[in-house]
């Protein structure tokens, strides 16, 4: 049914009658506004997500540079900071505690949600889903456009929160109440917190509009012959990502609504028995539970980790296979492990709460389920290793980042086994060990997946290549730098050094790490600078990069490479190609690659 509809829609395009999207009229008559701003072309929306994500990544990264300056050099002052940020936030060139906490909060919020959720799955789900399943566009291009513009609105509100007098939210990216509920407890819990909540609510709307669309498109709009088990793993990963988002973001939303009520409507969902030193007055609220918020938050918060990680896994699988000139090993096991991760992701949230006074018996279930996730993760790693084994590997920049992704995923995944074990979590909870763990496994690894995707699909997005030399410099400094930054942090965590401390010199237990903190800060500044080099390469290459001369530059099997070099809205000029095989026939029967569109010949060997 869906295929017929798609084919029908496409025939309208080829006969140059009315475009299947009535709102738009004819797609060749796009004005600047309908083509670049209120576009309903999934490819353009993907690019919008990517570029907005890049802007956010620069902002979020810059925040980390600022707070690393403080953490690495707590006794020095940087007069330029006072010039730039004003005397409230950086009096005497030193970052003030309120501002430090605003920085870490915004760094986390921006990178987790705006960059690695919207910027990563927003970009690649939009770009790849219709192209790789053989559809002209998303199931609802209009909803898809709305998804971007809600994200844009969320961005505007979040940015504006940086400029309110009392500063942006500063209670950590998790915004635990009562701290986040009470303006008298913290400057950042005043207007900044309201804006944070509004922005996040808009973000949830964006994410749901996008997610529902992705699911509907994958289930209904696949081209003829594209059965579910012929889908590239990117699509499977993006599918599970969307499912995770659709099921968990509403729960976060409900948590935020209750928090808004507690802030402004006098309710006591999260508040009980509170006396504030700043006002010297007890609050009237009784009977609320601060822990309730943590449950609601982490019911999204943990799936969120996989929302960030799964697209990177999918893209890495695709890129590894293409550049090893070898099929992905264990395709069905890869799907099964994605599915297992997707299910388990909903059953482990309380491992963030082992030391909140959670019933130890209940905690034990979360230990079991958490460590269970290591099994599908291990399957994936071994399958990737087998994929490159006896391949014929081309180290394109995309491939290098995909390899880097695996390395990071292993390193960060293994430390998850420490933290998921409640016994060890008692000691390691909320220390720098946690920071090292999740930055490696979900921050850096997902960034590597994202970079791999950008380098690999840039030719499809813009019809040009990124500069290779800059790409190699970018990869090597980022890989080495990321390990130099995050590996030694584990040691700080093992010593118990808490996260979110802006100065440890006053602590006998932690001040042995002065030198290490300085070293980490310096490396992080260098790595940040190299990311700017990538951003420069990105924008320069859009306009001046080497042109792509062949429609299938990587010798890839998937459908997006059967479109013209610069596909218009509707993707294929003629009919949508029919699919006859899975996406991974590389090196079969002595042939370098066999595109999905090629019918299976009678003499072909089976796999």
């Amino acid at each position: 049914m869906s295929n017929e509809a798609t084919v029908h829609g496409h025939s309208e395009v080829t006969t140059h009658e009315v475009h299947h999207d009535d709102h738009h009229g004819h797609h060749h008559q796009d004005t600047f506004i309908t083509k670049y701003i209120f576009s309903q072309d999934h490819k353009m929306i993907g690019k919008q997500f990517l570029i907005t994500g890049i802007v956010w990544a620069i902002i979020g990264g810059l925040f980390s540079v600022l707070f690393r300056l403080q953490l690495g050099f707590p006794d020095q002052s940087f007069p330029i900071l006072e010039d730039l940020l004003g005397s409230k936030w950086a009096a005497g060139g030193k970052i003030q505690p309120e501002f430090y906490y605003a920085l870490v909060t915004m760094h986390g919020t921006v990178l987790v949600f705006f960059v690695l959720t919207a910027g990563l799955s927003g970009t690649f789900a939009n770009l790849l889903i219709p192209l790789q399943i053989g559809a002209r566009d998303m199931a609802s291009p209009f909803m898809n456009m709305l998804s971007y513009w809600f994200f844009f609105l969320a961005s505007i509100v979040m940015i504006s929160s940086l400029f309110v007098q009392t500063g942006p939210a500063s209670g950590g990216w998790t915004s635990y109440p009562p701290l986040s509920a009470l303006g008298d407890a913290s400057e950042g819990s005043k207007a900044g917190m309201d804006l944070w909540l509004v922005s996040m609510a808009l973000f949830v709307v964006s994410s749901l509009l996008g997610g529902l669309n992705y699911i509907a498109t994958i289930l209904n709009m696949r081209t003829k012959g594209m059965t579910m088990t012929r889908l590239p793993l990117t699509i499977w990963a993006l599918f599970f990502t969307a499912v995770l988002g659709v099921l968990s973001f509403p729960v976060l939303f409900s948590g935020f609504i209750l928090l808004l009520f507690d802030r402004h409507a006098g309710t006591s969902f999260y508040l009980s028995d509170i006396f504030l030193a700043s006002t010297q007055k007890p609050l009237p609220n009784e009977g609320g539970s601060a822990i309730l918020y943590q449950h609601l938050f982490w019911f999204l918060g943990h799936p969120e980790v996989y929302i960030i990680l799964l697209p990177a896994m999918g893209m890495a699988s695709e890129i590894l296979s293409t550049n090893s000139r070898k099929p992905i090993f264990g395709y069905m096991a890869m799907i099964a492990s994605l599915f297992a991760i997707c299910v388990l992701a909903f059953l482990v949230w309380a491992h963030h709460m082992f030391v909140t006074g959670l019933n130890p018996f209940l905690g034990s279930f979360f230990v079991l389920l958490t460590l269970l996730i290591a099994v599908p993760s291990a399957i994936k790693v071994f399958n990737w290793l087998t994929t490159i084994w006896r391949g014929n590997i081309r180290f394109t920049p995309g491939m290098l980042f995909a390899l880097g992704f695996i390395s990071m995923f292993i390193s960060g995944g293994l430390t998850g086994i420490f933290l998921g074990n409640s016994t060890l979590d008692i000691h390691l909870h909320d220390t720098m060990f946690v920071i090292a763990h999740f930055h490696i496994v979900m921050g850096v690894a997902s960034f590597f997946g994202m970079f791999a995707g950008v380098y690999h699909w840039f030719p499809k997005m813009f019809g040009r290549y990124l500069n290779n030399t800059l790409a190699y410099i970018h990869f090597w400094i980022t890989l080495v730098g990321a390990y130099l930054i995050f590996w030694p942090m584990h040691y700080e965590g093992l010593a118990g050094m808490p996260r979110r401390y802006l100065d440890v010199s006053g602590w006998v237990s932690f001040n042995q790490f002065d030198g290490l903190n300085r070293f980490i800060s310096i490396v992080s500044i260098i790595v940040f600078a190299v990311q700017l080099l990538f951003v420069f390469n990105f924008f320069y290459s859009i306009f001046k990069g080497r042109r792509v001369k062949t429609p299938n530059p990587w010798g890839s099997n998937t459908l997006e490479w059967t479109t013209p070099i610069n596909p218009g809205h509707g993707n294929w000029e003629g009919e949508i190609p029919e699919v006859h095989r899975w996406a991974y026939d590389y090196g079969k029967d002595g042939r370098d690659f066999i595109p999905q569109t090629e019918p299976v010949s009678a003499t072909e060997s089976k796999h």
Binding site: I274, V355, R390, N392, W507, V508
Partner: protein, 348 residues
């Protein structure tokens, strides 16, 4: 000035790198795409191998550099269990880490592109896949098993003879309360908190068992080799009692008391000698984001001998007496009367 200089140097570096990158693209065109690709591939293949070797050496070196600065001997019985668990996990994950990273980079290097090689068509193999489902599952079962045994030991009920101390977090410090002579904590209600009148915790003075409670913010005293149970509260936002040397940690949640218990093994004095640091103290660090003073929210624990503890305890005045100096000679009917009247007064 120096900042501007650094920015200028960075910009210059950017431009130089960019020009080189641009030039290399032209060179590639001149040399031919195929030759450039082969060269780049060789270089990157070699670099991957070099990264692995140097990386593993770096890991070893980093470990040598920091191993003396991290754990030290656990100062509590529970801490020993946690350390054992840590070493078991470290051994297992360490092996997996080295094997998988070596395979990853070795395969990448070994199977880099060559005209002579054709990729091996190997889409799946059920036996292999079963192996690497089952082996990790077994390894993780072991870890879960050990972990849960220790977890239930640590979170189990405290021994009946444990000393009980109540610790309450506030922005940004800790308040400790001892039950006093009657060994019963008096009732409290947060609406009664009045710092000006010396009632930091909102004790109900009417309650007799509250009248001998000792409240202090100086340090938490505990007896070496005697189990101690902490009842953890918060007065405002969520805090966390983190005690790195004991390897213990528990959130302080307003409205919901939590508990932990452990047995300290060494006195503060012994730890000063063991660590060779005369400034050593058992520090309580707040481990849950609690506001602008979070990074400085410190408490001190003094682990002392029973005799020292008794001496210290004898010197403490109950909070009630401090808040109501006229009621100082506690026993006697007259005193009880004045208790009632002051209690009534504080309630108004």
């Amino acid at each position: 000035m120096s900042t501007l200089l650094i920015i200028a140097i960075l910009l210059l570096g950017f431009i130089v790198v960019f020009q080189i990158a641009k030039a290399s693209e032209y060179v590639a065109v001149l040399k031919g795409e195929k030759k450039t690709f082969e060269q780049n591939n060789k270089i990157n293949g070699f670099l991957l191998l070099a990264f692995m070797v140097l990386g593993l050496i770096g890991v070893y070196w980093c470990n040598e550099m920091f191993k003396g600065k991290i754990l030290g001997e656990a100062a509590s019985d529970h801490g020993e269990k946690i350390d054992t668990m840590l070493y078991i996990t470290l051994a297992l994950t360490g092996i997996v880490f080295v094997i998988t990273q070596v395979l990853l980079f070795w395969f990448a290097y070994k199977y880099q592109h060559s005209e002579k090689r054709t990729a091996f068509y190997f889409p799946h193999n059920n036996k292999l896949e079963v192996i690497w489902t089952v082996v990790p599952a077994i390894a993780l079962t072991v870890l879960v098993g050990f972990g849960l045994v220790y977890w239930f030991k640590i979170t189990g009920d405290a021994p009946a003879d444990a000393n009980v101390v109540e610790i309450t977090g506030k922005q940004f410090g800790w308040i400790y309360r001892y039950a006093g002579k009657d060994k019963v904590f008096g009732k409290k209600y947060y609406q009664n908190i009045n710092e000006g009148k010396g009632n930091q915790l909102g004790l109900i003075w009417d309650d007799k068992s509250a009248q001998d409670d000792i409240v202090t913010s100086d340090a938490m005293y505990m007896v070496v080799n005697k189990p101690v149970k902490l009842i953890i509260n918060s007065r405002d936002v969520v805090h966390d009692v983190g005690m790195v040397h004991f390897r213990m940690k528990m959130d302080a949640v307003p409205g919901t008391p939590t508990t932990i218990w452990f047995t300290p093994k060494f006195t503060t004095q012994e730890m000063k000698e063991k660590t060779g640091r005369p400034d050593f103290e058992y520090e309580i660090s707040c481990d849950q984001m609690c506001g602008k003073g979070h990074y400085s929210m410190k408490g001190i624990i003094k682990v002392v001998t029973p005799a020292e503890f008794a001496l210290w305890m004898a010197k403490q005045k109950p909070a009630y007496v401090q808040a109501n100096p006229e009621a100082a000679p506690a026993p006697g009917p007259a005193a009880v009367d004045s208790v009632k009247s002051t209690a009534a007064a504080t309630q108004h």
